[in-house]
Protein backbone atom coordinates (compact mmCIF):
# COMPACT_ATOMS: atom_id res chain seq x y z
CA UNK A 1 0.00 0.00 0.00
CA UNK A 2 1.53 3.31 -0.99
CA UNK A 3 2.26 6.11 1.45
CA UNK A 4 -0.27 8.31 -0.30
CA UNK A 5 -3.05 5.80 0.28
CA UNK A 6 -2.03 5.41 3.92
CA UNK A 7 -2.20 9.17 4.39
CA UNK A 8 -5.53 9.19 2.64
CA UNK A 9 -6.75 6.52 5.02
CA UNK A 10 -5.65 8.56 8.02
CA UNK A 11 -7.49 11.51 6.57
CA UNK A 12 -10.67 9.46 6.16
CA UNK A 13 -10.38 8.33 9.75
CA UNK A 14 -9.97 11.90 10.96
CA UNK A 15 -13.09 12.91 9.08
CA UNK A 16 -15.09 9.82 9.99
CA UNK A 17 -13.80 9.54 13.51
CA UNK A 18 -13.50 5.78 13.24
CA UNK A 19 -11.06 3.13 12.20
CA UNK A 20 -12.00 1.99 8.75
CA UNK A 21 -8.69 0.32 7.97
CA UNK A 22 -10.28 -3.02 7.20
CA UNK A 23 -12.46 -1.63 4.47
CA UNK A 24 -10.04 0.69 2.78
CA UNK A 25 -6.57 -0.78 3.19
CA UNK A 26 -7.22 -4.35 2.19
CA UNK A 27 -9.65 -6.48 0.31
CA UNK A 28 -12.89 -7.60 1.89
CA UNK A 29 -12.87 -8.94 5.43
CA UNK A 30 -13.12 -12.73 5.47
CA UNK A 31 -16.25 -14.41 6.79
CA UNK A 32 -19.84 -13.40 7.21
CA UNK A 33 -19.00 -10.31 9.27
CA UNK A 34 -17.80 -8.72 6.03
CA UNK A 35 -21.40 -8.33 4.99
CA UNK A 36 -22.57 -6.96 8.33
CA UNK A 37 -19.82 -4.37 8.77
CA UNK A 38 -19.10 -3.44 5.18
CA UNK A 39 -19.08 0.16 4.04
CA UNK A 40 -17.94 -0.72 0.50
CA UNK A 41 -20.45 0.39 -2.12
CA UNK A 42 -20.02 -2.80 -4.15
CA UNK A 43 -20.68 -5.05 -1.14
CA UNK A 44 -23.72 -3.00 -0.15
CA UNK A 45 -24.98 -3.03 -3.73
CA UNK A 46 -24.66 -6.81 -3.77
CA UNK A 47 -26.54 -7.08 -0.46
CA UNK A 48 -29.36 -4.89 -1.78
CA UNK A 49 -29.69 -6.93 -4.97
CA UNK A 50 -29.76 -10.31 -3.21
CA UNK A 51 -32.24 -8.98 -0.64
CA UNK A 52 -34.46 -7.65 -3.44
CA UNK A 53 -34.24 -11.00 -5.23
CA UNK A 54 -35.28 -12.88 -2.05
CA UNK A 55 -38.23 -10.54 -1.60
CA UNK A 56 -39.12 -10.98 -5.29
CA UNK A 57 -39.34 -14.73 -4.76
CA UNK A 58 -41.48 -14.30 -1.60
CA UNK A 59 -43.76 -11.74 -3.27
CA UNK A 60 -43.87 -14.02 -6.32
CA UNK A 61 -44.95 -16.96 -4.13
CA UNK A 62 -47.84 -14.80 -2.86
CA UNK A 63 -48.74 -14.06 -6.49
CA UNK A 64 -48.81 -17.82 -7.18
CA UNK A 65 -51.32 -18.25 -4.33
CA UNK A 66 -53.46 -15.51 -5.89
CA UNK A 67 -53.31 -17.02 -9.39
CA UNK A 68 -53.96 -20.55 -8.04
CA UNK A 69 -57.09 -19.32 -6.27
CA UNK A 70 -58.24 -17.52 -9.42
CA UNK A 71 -57.51 -20.52 -11.67
CA UNK A 72 -61.19 -21.45 -11.51
CA UNK A 73 -64.31 -19.65 -10.30
CA UNK A 74 -65.47 -20.41 -6.77
CA UNK A 75 -63.42 -20.58 -3.60
CA UNK A 76 -60.74 -23.21 -4.24
CA UNK A 77 -57.75 -23.04 -1.94
CA UNK A 78 -57.78 -20.17 0.54
CA UNK A 79 -60.22 -18.18 2.63
CA UNK A 80 -61.21 -14.74 1.27
CA UNK A 81 -59.54 -13.02 4.24
CA UNK A 82 -56.25 -14.79 3.52
CA UNK A 83 -56.61 -13.97 -0.20
CA UNK A 84 -56.84 -10.30 0.73
CA UNK A 85 -53.72 -10.64 2.89
CA UNK A 86 -51.92 -12.14 -0.09
CA UNK A 87 -52.89 -9.31 -2.47
CA UNK A 88 -51.87 -6.73 0.15
CA UNK A 89 -48.52 -8.26 1.04
CA UNK A 90 -47.74 -9.13 -2.59
CA UNK A 91 -48.05 -5.44 -3.50
CA UNK A 92 -46.16 -4.14 -0.47
CA UNK A 93 -43.33 -6.66 -0.74
CA UNK A 94 -42.88 -6.14 -4.48
CA UNK A 95 -42.91 -2.33 -4.27
CA UNK A 96 -40.94 -1.73 -1.06
CA UNK A 97 -39.01 -5.00 -0.77
CA UNK A 98 -38.14 -5.95 -4.35
CA UNK A 99 -38.24 -3.19 -6.99
CA UNK A 100 -37.05 -0.22 -4.89
CA UNK A 101 -34.17 -2.06 -3.13
CA UNK A 102 -33.08 -3.59 -6.46
CA UNK A 103 -32.72 -0.12 -7.97
CA UNK A 104 -30.88 1.13 -4.86
CA UNK A 105 -28.57 -1.87 -5.20
CA UNK A 106 -27.85 -1.00 -8.82
CA UNK A 107 -27.29 2.63 -7.80
CA UNK A 108 -24.80 1.53 -5.15
CA UNK A 109 -22.86 -0.62 -7.57
CA UNK A 110 -22.92 1.70 -10.53
CA UNK A 111 -23.08 5.37 -9.51
CA UNK A 112 -19.60 5.63 -7.93
CA UNK A 113 -18.13 3.65 -10.83
CA UNK A 114 -19.90 5.79 -13.42
CA UNK A 115 -18.84 9.14 -11.96
CA UNK A 116 -15.27 8.21 -11.09
CA UNK A 117 -15.79 8.25 -7.30
CA UNK A 118 -14.05 6.00 -4.79
CA UNK A 119 -17.26 5.14 -2.95
CA UNK A 120 -20.62 6.56 -1.94
CA UNK A 121 -20.38 9.86 -0.06
CA UNK A 122 -21.64 8.50 3.27
CA UNK A 123 -20.53 4.86 3.47
CA UNK A 124 -21.60 4.10 7.03
CA UNK A 125 -25.06 5.54 6.49
CA UNK A 126 -25.14 3.37 3.40
CA UNK A 127 -24.58 0.28 5.54
CA UNK A 128 -27.33 1.42 7.92
CA UNK A 129 -29.76 2.08 5.04
CA UNK A 130 -29.39 -1.51 3.91
CA UNK A 131 -29.47 -3.26 7.27
CA UNK A 132 -32.77 -1.64 8.22
CA UNK A 133 -34.40 -3.47 5.31
CA UNK A 134 -34.21 -7.11 6.42
CA UNK A 135 -35.70 -6.18 9.80
CA UNK A 136 -38.49 -4.13 8.20
CA UNK A 137 -39.20 -6.90 5.68
CA UNK A 138 -39.28 -9.56 8.40
CA UNK A 139 -41.59 -7.43 10.53
CA UNK A 140 -43.94 -6.94 7.59
CA UNK A 141 -43.99 -10.66 6.79
CA UNK A 142 -44.39 -11.63 10.46
CA UNK A 143 -47.84 -9.99 10.49
CA UNK A 144 -49.11 -13.06 8.62
CA UNK A 145 -48.55 -15.14 11.76
CA UNK A 146 -50.20 -12.70 14.19
CA UNK A 147 -53.64 -12.94 15.72
CA UNK A 148 -56.20 -11.64 13.24
CA UNK A 149 -53.79 -12.17 10.34
CA UNK A 150 -51.77 -9.68 8.35
CA UNK A 151 -52.93 -6.47 6.70
CA UNK A 152 -55.77 -7.24 4.28
CA UNK A 153 -56.67 -3.76 3.05
CA UNK A 154 -54.64 -3.65 -0.17
CA UNK A 155 -51.23 -2.04 -0.67
CA UNK A 156 -52.94 1.37 -0.74
CA UNK A 157 -54.14 0.86 2.88
CA UNK A 158 -57.07 3.26 2.58
CA UNK A 159 -58.58 4.51 5.85
CA UNK A 160 -60.86 3.50 7.55
CA UNK A 161 -60.06 -0.07 6.38
CA UNK A 162 -56.54 0.40 7.75
CA UNK A 163 -57.58 2.25 10.89
CA UNK A 164 -61.01 1.47 12.36
CA UNK A 165 -61.46 -1.96 10.75
CA UNK A 166 -57.88 -3.22 10.58
CA UNK A 167 -56.34 -6.18 12.46
CA UNK A 168 -54.00 -5.58 15.39
CA UNK A 169 -50.99 -6.47 13.25
CA UNK A 170 -51.48 -3.16 11.40
CA UNK A 171 -49.30 -1.40 13.99
CA UNK A 172 -46.42 -3.67 12.98
CA UNK A 173 -47.17 -2.89 9.34
CA UNK A 174 -47.00 0.84 10.16
CA UNK A 175 -43.65 0.40 11.90
CA UNK A 176 -42.34 -1.61 8.95
CA UNK A 177 -43.43 1.10 6.47
CA UNK A 178 -41.75 3.74 8.65
CA UNK A 179 -38.50 1.77 8.60
CA UNK A 180 -38.68 1.09 4.85
CA UNK A 181 -39.30 4.78 4.24
CA UNK A 182 -36.43 5.78 6.54
CA UNK A 183 -34.11 3.44 4.65
CA UNK A 184 -35.22 4.88 1.30
CA UNK A 185 -34.72 8.47 2.47
CA UNK A 186 -31.22 7.71 3.76
CA UNK A 187 -30.42 5.98 0.47
CA UNK A 188 -31.68 9.01 -1.47
CA UNK A 189 -29.62 11.43 0.66
CA UNK A 190 -26.56 9.33 -0.06
CA UNK A 191 -27.23 9.25 -3.81
CA UNK A 192 -27.71 13.04 -3.97
CA UNK A 193 -24.63 13.76 -1.86
CA UNK A 194 -22.56 11.32 -3.92
CA UNK A 195 -23.59 12.64 -7.34
CA UNK A 196 -23.34 16.32 -6.40
CA UNK A 197 -20.05 16.09 -4.49
CA UNK A 198 -18.07 12.98 -5.39
CA UNK A 199 -17.91 13.24 -9.18
CA UNK A 200 -14.48 13.28 -10.77
CA UNK A 201 -13.40 16.97 -10.78
CA UNK A 202 -13.51 17.02 -14.57
CA UNK A 203 -16.98 15.55 -14.91
CA UNK A 204 -19.71 18.13 -15.50
CA UNK A 205 -23.36 17.38 -14.82
CA UNK A 206 -24.10 17.04 -18.53
CA UNK A 207 -21.24 14.54 -18.86
CA UNK A 208 -22.98 12.13 -16.52
CA UNK A 209 -24.40 8.88 -17.92
CA UNK A 210 -28.20 8.77 -18.16
CA UNK A 211 -28.43 6.17 -15.39
CA UNK A 212 -26.79 8.63 -12.98
CA UNK A 213 -29.08 11.46 -14.11
CA UNK A 214 -32.23 9.38 -13.70
CA UNK A 215 -31.10 8.32 -10.23
CA UNK A 216 -30.34 11.91 -9.18
CA UNK A 217 -33.88 12.93 -10.16
CA UNK A 218 -35.34 9.79 -8.56
CA UNK A 219 -33.53 10.61 -5.31
CA UNK A 220 -35.18 14.03 -5.21
CA UNK A 221 -38.53 12.37 -5.87
CA UNK A 222 -37.87 10.08 -2.90
CA UNK A 223 -37.03 13.05 -0.68
CA UNK A 224 -40.28 14.77 -1.65
CA UNK A 225 -42.56 11.71 -1.62
CA UNK A 226 -41.44 9.34 1.14
CA UNK A 227 -41.94 11.83 4.03
CA UNK A 228 -45.54 12.23 2.85
CA UNK A 229 -46.02 8.47 3.21
CA UNK A 230 -44.38 8.68 6.62
CA UNK A 231 -46.84 11.43 7.54
CA UNK A 232 -49.80 9.31 6.39
CA UNK A 233 -48.80 6.25 8.40
CA UNK A 234 -47.97 8.40 11.43
CA UNK A 235 -51.51 9.81 11.36
CA UNK A 236 -52.84 6.27 10.97
CA UNK A 237 -50.83 5.28 14.02
CA UNK A 238 -52.22 8.10 16.14
CA UNK A 239 -55.77 7.49 14.87
CA UNK A 240 -55.46 3.84 15.89
CA UNK A 241 -53.75 4.29 19.24
CA UNK A 242 -53.87 7.85 20.54
CA UNK A 243 -57.45 8.97 20.03
CA UNK A 244 -56.94 11.34 17.12
CA UNK A 245 -59.35 11.35 14.20
CA UNK A 246 -57.40 12.54 11.19
CA UNK A 247 -59.24 10.06 8.98
CA UNK A 248 -62.25 9.23 11.17
CA UNK A 249 -65.39 11.00 9.94
CA UNK A 250 -67.15 10.46 13.29
CA UNK A 251 -64.47 12.57 14.98
CA UNK A 252 -64.45 15.29 12.32
CA UNK A 253 -61.75 13.69 10.19
CA UNK A 254 -61.81 12.97 6.49
CA UNK A 255 -61.20 9.48 5.05
CA UNK A 256 -61.03 10.88 1.49
CA UNK A 257 -58.13 13.08 2.61
CA UNK A 258 -56.22 9.86 3.27
CA UNK A 259 -56.54 8.95 -0.38
CA UNK A 260 -55.29 12.40 -1.46
CA UNK A 261 -52.28 12.12 0.85
CA UNK A 262 -51.60 8.53 -0.16
CA UNK A 263 -51.67 9.25 -3.89
CA UNK A 264 -49.64 12.45 -3.48
CA UNK A 265 -46.98 9.97 -2.41
CA UNK A 266 -48.20 7.07 -4.56
CA UNK A 267 -48.01 8.57 -8.00
CA UNK A 268 -44.43 9.89 -7.67
CA UNK A 269 -43.67 6.44 -6.22
CA UNK A 270 -44.58 4.95 -9.60
CA UNK A 271 -41.95 7.18 -11.21
CA UNK A 272 -39.45 6.32 -8.47
CA UNK A 273 -39.81 2.76 -9.75
CA UNK A 274 -39.55 3.61 -13.46
CA UNK A 275 -37.08 6.52 -13.87
CA UNK A 276 -34.01 4.39 -13.01
CA UNK A 277 -35.36 1.85 -15.51
CA UNK A 278 -35.24 4.58 -18.18
CA UNK A 279 -31.62 5.18 -17.20
CA UNK A 280 -30.70 1.50 -17.51
CA UNK A 281 -32.27 1.15 -20.94
CA UNK A 282 -30.51 4.35 -22.04
CA UNK A 283 -27.18 2.71 -21.13
CA UNK A 284 -27.86 -0.63 -22.80
CA UNK A 285 -29.37 0.40 -26.14
CA UNK A 286 -26.38 2.55 -27.31
CA UNK A 287 -24.02 -0.34 -26.46
CA UNK A 288 -25.82 -2.87 -28.66
CA UNK A 289 -26.82 -0.36 -31.35
CA UNK A 290 -23.16 0.74 -31.48
CA UNK A 291 -24.31 4.35 -31.67
CA UNK A 292 -24.32 7.20 -29.15
CA UNK A 293 -27.60 7.78 -27.34
CA UNK A 294 -29.86 9.97 -29.47
CA UNK A 295 -31.00 13.20 -27.78
CA UNK A 296 -29.07 12.97 -24.51
CA UNK A 297 -30.01 16.41 -23.22
CA UNK A 298 -33.67 15.95 -24.19
CA UNK A 299 -33.60 12.69 -22.20
CA UNK A 300 -32.37 14.59 -19.13
CA UNK A 301 -35.01 17.31 -19.48
CA UNK A 302 -37.74 14.75 -20.20
CA UNK A 303 -36.82 12.87 -17.02
CA UNK A 304 -37.00 16.09 -14.99
CA UNK A 305 -40.33 17.00 -16.63
CA UNK A 306 -41.81 13.57 -15.80
CA UNK A 307 -40.63 13.96 -12.20
CA UNK A 308 -42.23 17.40 -11.82
CA UNK A 309 -45.49 16.34 -13.48
CA UNK A 310 -45.68 13.26 -11.25
CA UNK A 311 -46.56 15.53 -8.31
CA UNK A 312 -49.56 17.17 -9.95
CA UNK A 313 -51.54 14.21 -11.30
CA UNK A 314 -52.44 12.17 -8.22
CA UNK A 315 -56.16 12.82 -8.60
CA UNK A 316 -56.44 10.45 -11.58
CA UNK A 317 -56.41 7.59 -9.06
CA UNK A 318 -59.52 9.08 -7.46
CA UNK A 319 -61.88 10.06 -10.28
CA UNK A 320 -64.66 7.95 -8.76
CA UNK A 321 -64.23 9.16 -5.19
CA UNK A 322 -66.16 12.31 -5.92
CA UNK A 323 -64.46 15.28 -7.47
CA UNK A 324 -65.69 18.50 -9.12
CA UNK A 325 -65.77 18.33 -12.92
CA UNK A 326 -63.06 21.00 -13.12
CA UNK A 327 -60.86 18.84 -10.92
CA UNK A 328 -61.47 15.82 -13.13
CA UNK A 329 -60.62 17.82 -16.25
CA UNK A 330 -57.45 19.22 -14.69
CA UNK A 331 -56.17 15.82 -13.54
CA UNK A 332 -57.09 14.26 -16.87
CA UNK A 333 -55.18 16.80 -18.95
CA UNK A 334 -52.21 16.89 -16.57
CA UNK A 335 -52.00 13.09 -16.72
CA UNK A 336 -52.13 13.02 -20.50
CA UNK A 337 -49.40 15.68 -20.55
CA UNK A 338 -46.95 13.14 -19.08
CA UNK A 339 -47.12 11.21 -22.34
CA UNK A 340 -45.16 14.04 -24.01
CA UNK A 341 -41.83 13.64 -22.16
CA UNK A 342 -42.38 9.88 -22.04
CA UNK A 343 -42.89 9.89 -25.80
CA UNK A 344 -39.63 11.84 -26.17
CA UNK A 345 -37.86 8.99 -24.40
CA UNK A 346 -39.41 6.21 -26.46
CA UNK A 347 -38.64 8.18 -29.64
CA UNK A 348 -35.01 8.62 -28.57
CA UNK A 349 -34.55 4.90 -27.82
CA UNK A 350 -36.02 3.92 -31.17
CA UNK A 351 -33.93 6.56 -32.95
CA UNK A 352 -30.79 5.32 -31.19
CA UNK A 353 -31.50 1.87 -32.63
CA UNK A 354 -32.38 3.27 -36.07
CA UNK A 355 -29.65 2.35 -38.56
CA UNK A 356 -27.46 1.09 -35.75
CA UNK A 357 -25.31 -2.02 -36.01
CA UNK A 358 -27.70 -3.91 -33.82
CA UNK A 359 -26.95 -7.17 -32.09
CA UNK A 360 -29.28 -8.91 -29.70
CA UNK A 361 -27.36 -10.23 -26.74
CA UNK A 362 -29.47 -10.92 -23.65
CA UNK A 363 -29.34 -7.41 -22.09
CA UNK A 364 -30.47 -5.91 -25.41
CA UNK A 365 -33.30 -8.43 -25.71
CA UNK A 366 -34.59 -7.33 -22.30
CA UNK A 367 -34.10 -3.65 -23.16
CA UNK A 368 -36.04 -3.95 -26.43
CA UNK A 369 -38.77 -5.92 -24.63
CA UNK A 370 -38.87 -3.10 -22.08
CA UNK A 371 -39.39 -0.44 -24.76
CA UNK A 372 -42.24 -2.35 -26.42
CA UNK A 373 -44.04 -3.65 -23.34
CA UNK A 374 -43.59 -0.53 -21.22
CA UNK A 375 -45.14 1.42 -24.09
CA UNK A 376 -48.17 -0.91 -23.98
CA UNK A 377 -48.40 -0.21 -20.23
CA UNK A 378 -48.11 3.50 -20.92
CA UNK A 379 -50.89 3.42 -23.50
CA UNK A 380 -53.28 1.61 -21.16
CA UNK A 381 -52.30 4.27 -18.60
CA UNK A 382 -53.44 6.95 -21.02
CA UNK A 383 -56.78 5.14 -21.33
CA UNK A 384 -57.11 5.10 -17.53
CA UNK A 385 -56.24 8.79 -17.35
CA UNK A 386 -59.31 9.74 -19.38
CA UNK A 387 -61.84 10.61 -16.68
CA UNK A 388 -65.08 9.44 -18.36
CA UNK A 389 -63.49 6.19 -19.57
CA UNK A 390 -62.08 5.55 -16.09
CA UNK A 391 -65.64 5.19 -14.80
CA UNK A 392 -65.68 1.88 -16.71
CA UNK A 393 -62.09 0.79 -15.98
CA UNK A 394 -61.75 1.85 -12.35
CA UNK A 395 -61.01 -0.98 -9.87
CA UNK A 396 -61.12 -3.63 -12.60
CA UNK A 397 -58.51 -6.07 -13.87
CA UNK A 398 -57.70 -3.52 -16.59
CA UNK A 399 -55.91 -1.52 -13.89
CA UNK A 400 -54.12 -4.67 -12.72
CA UNK A 401 -52.98 -5.38 -16.31
CA UNK A 402 -51.86 -1.75 -16.75
CA UNK A 403 -49.67 -1.46 -13.69
CA UNK A 404 -48.17 -4.93 -14.14
CA UNK A 405 -47.11 -3.99 -17.68
CA UNK A 406 -45.46 -0.91 -16.19
CA UNK A 407 -43.90 -2.52 -13.14
CA UNK A 408 -43.14 -6.07 -14.33
CA UNK A 409 -42.36 -5.68 -18.02
CA UNK A 410 -41.14 -2.15 -17.25
CA UNK A 411 -39.29 -1.88 -13.95
CA UNK A 412 -38.51 -5.57 -13.33
CA UNK A 413 -37.42 -6.24 -16.92
CA UNK A 414 -35.03 -3.28 -16.76
CA UNK A 415 -33.53 -4.69 -13.55
CA UNK A 416 -33.03 -8.08 -15.23
CA UNK A 417 -31.51 -6.29 -18.25
CA UNK A 418 -29.16 -4.40 -15.92
CA UNK A 419 -28.08 -7.57 -14.12
CA UNK A 420 -27.24 -9.33 -17.42
CA UNK A 421 -25.49 -6.17 -18.69
CA UNK A 422 -23.29 -5.48 -15.67
CA UNK A 423 -22.95 -8.96 -14.09
CA UNK A 424 -19.89 -9.81 -16.26
CA UNK A 425 -18.22 -6.64 -14.95
CA UNK A 426 -19.27 -7.29 -11.34
CA UNK A 427 -17.93 -10.84 -11.14
CA UNK A 428 -15.53 -10.97 -14.09
CA UNK A 429 -17.39 -13.94 -15.57
CA UNK A 430 -19.81 -14.34 -18.45
CA UNK A 431 -23.19 -16.01 -18.05
CA UNK A 432 -24.41 -18.80 -20.31
CA UNK A 433 -25.81 -16.83 -23.27
CA UNK A 434 -27.75 -19.78 -24.71
CA UNK A 435 -29.60 -20.43 -21.44
CA UNK A 436 -30.15 -16.70 -20.94
CA UNK A 437 -31.81 -16.38 -24.37
CA UNK A 438 -34.03 -19.41 -23.67
CA UNK A 439 -34.95 -17.85 -20.33
CA UNK A 440 -35.76 -14.55 -22.04
CA UNK A 441 -38.21 -16.12 -24.51
CA UNK A 442 -39.77 -18.27 -21.78
CA UNK A 443 -40.32 -15.18 -19.61
CA UNK A 444 -41.49 -12.93 -22.41
CA UNK A 445 -44.12 -15.37 -23.66
CA UNK A 446 -45.36 -16.35 -20.20
CA UNK A 447 -45.56 -12.79 -18.90
CA UNK A 448 -47.80 -11.81 -21.80
CA UNK A 449 -49.97 -14.90 -21.34
CA UNK A 450 -50.21 -13.82 -17.69
CA UNK A 451 -51.06 -10.15 -18.02
CA UNK A 452 -52.49 -9.51 -21.49
CA UNK A 453 -55.80 -11.40 -20.90
CA UNK A 454 -56.30 -9.28 -17.79
CA UNK A 455 -57.04 -6.32 -20.09
CA UNK A 456 -60.02 -8.25 -21.49
CA UNK A 457 -61.15 -9.31 -18.01
CA UNK A 458 -61.09 -5.71 -16.88
CA UNK A 459 -62.90 -4.39 -19.93
CA UNK A 460 -65.57 -7.05 -19.34
CA UNK A 461 -65.98 -5.76 -15.79
CA UNK A 462 -64.12 -8.18 -13.53
CA UNK A 463 -63.27 -6.32 -10.30
CA UNK A 464 -59.79 -6.57 -8.78
CA UNK A 465 -58.98 -7.92 -5.29
CA UNK A 466 -61.66 -10.65 -5.27
CA UNK A 467 -61.08 -14.38 -4.69
CA UNK A 468 -64.14 -15.47 -6.69
CA UNK A 469 -65.74 -14.29 -9.91
CA UNK A 470 -68.60 -14.81 -12.34
CA UNK A 471 -68.47 -17.70 -14.78
CA UNK A 472 -67.97 -15.51 -17.85
CA UNK A 473 -64.47 -14.62 -16.61
CA UNK A 474 -63.36 -18.25 -16.22
CA UNK A 475 -61.45 -18.80 -19.50
CA UNK A 476 -59.26 -15.73 -19.40
CA UNK A 477 -58.53 -16.31 -15.71
CA UNK A 478 -57.37 -19.85 -16.44
CA UNK A 479 -55.11 -18.63 -19.27
CA UNK A 480 -53.76 -15.88 -17.03
CA UNK A 481 -53.01 -18.36 -14.22
CA UNK A 482 -51.20 -20.75 -16.58
CA UNK A 483 -49.07 -17.80 -17.75
CA UNK A 484 -48.49 -16.87 -14.10
CA UNK A 485 -47.21 -20.33 -13.13
CA UNK A 486 -44.93 -20.43 -16.20
CA UNK A 487 -43.58 -16.94 -15.46
CA UNK A 488 -43.03 -17.94 -11.81
CA UNK A 489 -41.05 -21.01 -12.91
CA UNK A 490 -38.84 -18.87 -15.15
CA UNK A 491 -37.29 -17.36 -12.01
CA UNK A 492 -35.89 -20.76 -11.04
CA UNK A 493 -34.02 -20.72 -14.34
CA UNK A 494 -32.91 -17.12 -13.78
CA UNK A 495 -31.52 -18.09 -10.36
CA UNK A 496 -29.60 -20.98 -11.94
CA UNK A 497 -28.15 -18.77 -14.71
CA UNK A 498 -26.91 -16.15 -12.24
CA UNK A 499 -25.47 -18.59 -9.70
CA UNK A 500 -23.86 -20.60 -12.53
CA UNK A 501 -22.31 -17.39 -13.90
CA UNK A 502 -20.87 -16.37 -10.52
CA UNK A 503 -19.47 -19.84 -9.74
CA UNK A 504 -18.59 -21.38 -13.10
CA UNK A 505 -18.88 -18.62 -15.70
CA UNK A 506 -16.20 -18.27 -18.37
CA UNK A 507 -13.82 -15.46 -17.32
CA UNK A 508 -14.28 -12.25 -19.27
CA UNK A 509 -11.18 -11.55 -21.34
CA UNK A 510 -9.89 -8.44 -23.02
CA UNK A 511 -11.05 -5.66 -20.71
CA UNK A 512 -14.78 -5.35 -21.13
CA UNK A 513 -17.63 -7.78 -21.62
CA UNK A 514 -19.30 -5.88 -24.48
CA UNK A 515 -16.96 -4.58 -27.13
CA UNK A 516 -18.91 -1.36 -27.68
CA UNK A 517 -19.80 -0.65 -24.05
CA UNK A 518 -18.78 2.81 -22.94
CA UNK A 519 -18.64 4.29 -19.46
CA UNK A 520 -16.11 4.74 -16.68
CA UNK A 521 -17.35 1.53 -15.07
CA UNK A 522 -15.79 -0.43 -17.94
CA UNK A 523 -12.32 1.04 -17.34
CA UNK A 524 -11.76 -1.16 -14.30
CA UNK A 525 -10.42 -4.15 -16.22
CA UNK A 526 -12.15 -7.51 -16.65
CA UNK A 527 -13.61 -7.35 -13.18
CA UNK A 528 -14.50 -4.43 -10.93
CA UNK A 529 -11.85 -4.20 -8.22
CA UNK A 530 -12.84 -3.95 -4.55
CA UNK A 531 -11.57 -0.36 -4.51
CA UNK A 532 -11.88 1.88 -7.54
CA UNK A 533 -10.47 5.17 -8.80
CA UNK A 534 -7.51 5.87 -6.51
CA UNK A 535 -6.88 8.61 -9.06
CA UNK A 536 -9.91 10.41 -10.52
CA UNK A 537 -10.34 9.87 -14.27
CA UNK A 538 -9.15 12.65 -16.56
CA UNK A 539 -11.31 14.77 -18.84
CA UNK A 540 -10.00 12.83 -21.83
CA UNK A 541 -11.07 9.51 -20.28
CA UNK A 542 -14.50 10.90 -19.34
CA UNK A 543 -15.13 12.06 -22.91
CA UNK A 544 -13.72 8.90 -24.47
CA UNK A 545 -16.02 6.78 -22.30
CA UNK A 546 -19.15 8.82 -22.88
CA UNK A 547 -22.04 6.81 -24.32
CA UNK A 548 -23.79 9.93 -25.62
CA UNK A 549 -20.99 11.53 -27.64
CA UNK A 550 -20.16 10.31 -31.14
CA UNK A 551 -16.81 8.51 -31.30
CA UNK A 552 -16.85 8.09 -35.06
CA UNK A 553 -13.43 7.55 -36.51
CA UNK A 554 -11.94 6.35 -33.21
CA UNK A 555 -12.31 2.67 -34.06
Amino acid sequence: MSTTTTDLQDEIEKIDGHDSHDDHHHGPEPGLLRWVKTTNHKDIGTLYIWFAFSMLLIGGAFAMVIRAELFQPGLQLVEPQFFNQMTTLHGLIMVFGAIMPAFVGLANWQIPLMIGAKDMALPRMNNWSFWILPFAGTMLLSTLFMQGGGPAFGWTFYAPLSTTFAPESTDFFIFAVHMLGFSSIMGAINVIATILNMRAPDMKLMDMPLFVWTWLITAFLLIAAMPVLAGAVTMMLTDRNFGTSFFDASGGGDPVMFQHIFWFFGHPEVYIMILPAFGIVSQIIPTFARKPLFGYSSMVYATAAIALLSFVVWGHHMFLVGMPIAGQLYFMYATILISVPTGVKVFNWVTTMWRGSLSFETPMLWAVAFVILFTIGGLSGLMLGIAPADIQYHDTYFVVAHFHYVLVTGALFSIIAAVFYWLPMWCGRMYNEKLAVIHFWWAIISVNVLFFPQHFLGLAGMPRRIPDYSLQFADFNMISSIGGFAFGLSFIMLTYIIVDCIRNGKPVEGGRAWESARGLEWTQGEKAQYHSFDTPPSRATILAESSHISHEGQH
Partner: protein
Protein backbone atom coordinates in the same frame (compact mmCIF):
# COMPACT_ATOMS: atom_id res chain seq x y z
CA UNK B 1 -17.04 24.67 -1.87
CA UNK B 2 -17.04 26.66 -5.05
CA UNK B 3 -13.56 25.66 -6.17
CA UNK B 4 -12.65 25.72 -9.83
CA UNK B 5 -11.73 22.59 -11.79
CA UNK B 6 -8.11 23.76 -11.89
CA UNK B 7 -8.03 24.13 -8.10
CA UNK B 8 -9.59 20.69 -7.66
CA UNK B 9 -7.09 19.16 -10.08
CA UNK B 10 -4.18 20.68 -8.21
CA UNK B 11 -5.28 19.07 -4.94
CA UNK B 12 -3.67 15.95 -3.61
CA UNK B 13 -5.78 12.80 -3.39
CA UNK B 14 -6.46 13.28 0.30
CA UNK B 15 -7.26 16.97 -0.04
CA UNK B 16 -9.75 16.20 -2.79
CA UNK B 17 -11.48 13.47 -0.76
CA UNK B 18 -11.64 15.72 2.31
CA UNK B 19 -13.10 18.51 0.19
CA UNK B 20 -15.65 16.20 -1.44
CA UNK B 21 -16.76 14.69 1.86
CA UNK B 22 -17.17 18.10 3.48
CA UNK B 23 -19.47 19.10 0.63
CA UNK B 24 -21.30 15.77 0.86
CA UNK B 25 -22.05 16.28 4.54
CA UNK B 26 -23.47 19.75 3.95
CA UNK B 27 -25.57 18.46 1.01
CA UNK B 28 -26.83 15.55 3.13
CA UNK B 29 -27.79 17.92 5.94
CA UNK B 30 -29.73 20.22 3.60
CA UNK B 31 -31.55 17.29 1.97
CA UNK B 32 -32.37 15.73 5.34
CA UNK B 33 -33.84 19.04 6.52
CA UNK B 34 -35.91 19.17 3.32
CA UNK B 35 -37.25 15.67 4.01
CA UNK B 36 -38.09 16.61 7.59
CA UNK B 37 -39.80 19.73 6.28
CA UNK B 38 -42.01 17.71 3.91
CA UNK B 39 -42.95 15.34 6.75
CA UNK B 40 -43.84 18.22 9.08
CA UNK B 41 -45.78 20.01 6.35
CA UNK B 42 -47.86 16.89 5.67
CA UNK B 43 -48.88 16.62 9.32
CA UNK B 44 -49.46 20.37 9.64
CA UNK B 45 -51.65 20.65 6.53
CA UNK B 46 -53.77 17.66 7.50
CA UNK B 47 -54.13 18.85 11.10
CA UNK B 48 -55.15 22.28 9.79
CA UNK B 49 -57.70 20.73 7.43
CA UNK B 50 -59.32 18.53 10.14
Amino acid sequence: MGKSVEELQSMTEEELLKHQRKGARITALIVAILALGVFSLTLYMKAKAS
